[in-house]
Symmetry: C2
Subunit: 116 residues, 2 copies
């Protein structure tokens, strides 16, 4: 089944272990063992999570000797933020006020009241 990008990103983020890994990587690069340490699960399990994260483009992995340092890649998160923007008006009160404000300065600054 052809999984679109956004669906892949959301599915990847739908796991607390993976979100915890991202939170850790927000601090800085880390190896697989370092990332696995906090979790009560086997190393292969974490390795799988990393593969999922990598496949979603949320991390990249280098190689230094026998270590594969992982680092955060925020591209997909930016896409999510973009998607969310379409809905901001449903929860953000200041969003409406900002829209009002923009409309106001738009008409005030343009005596003809053109829309654009």
């Amino acid at each position: 089944m052809p999984m679109d990008h956004l669906s892949t990103t959301f599915a990847t983020l739908a796991d607390p272990t993976r979100r915890a890994i991202l939170a850790r990587l927000a601090v800085g690069e880390a190896t697989v063992n370092e990332l696995a340490a906090p979790f009560a699960m086997s190393l292969p399990a974490v390795s799988k999570h990393l593969k999922v994260l990598e496949h979603a483009g949320l991390i990249t992995r280098g190689r230094e000797a026998q270590w594969r340092p992982c680092r955060l890649e925020a591209g997909p998160l930016k896409e999510v933020a973009g998607w969310l923007e379409h809905y901001r008006r449903f929860w953000d009160d200041s969003f409406d006020r900002m829209a009002d404000y923009l409309k106001e300065i738009q008409t005030k600054g343009d005596p003809d009241g053109r829309k654009n």
Copy 2:
């Protein structure tokens, strides 16, 4: 398995059909049949998607005669936006500039250079 709120939300959003339903509901309330119309799938399938959305708190359903009008609820989306904010600095260039700016006016406005 105890599914945390955020995981439930992400899992729910990880399906293009469900995101399309939300997009439709952003325009206004709609019944199950109306929501199902655009999709090449059975009504029960859509009904299931709606149950998932409802369970995630992304929609609520009223009842008018034999119709169950659905409407968007943005609470969980706001939570996602909140979570995302922790990562904004990784993709938003202006975020750093804003941080710099805030730091600047903070020190400029306070001759003693106190941090808070």
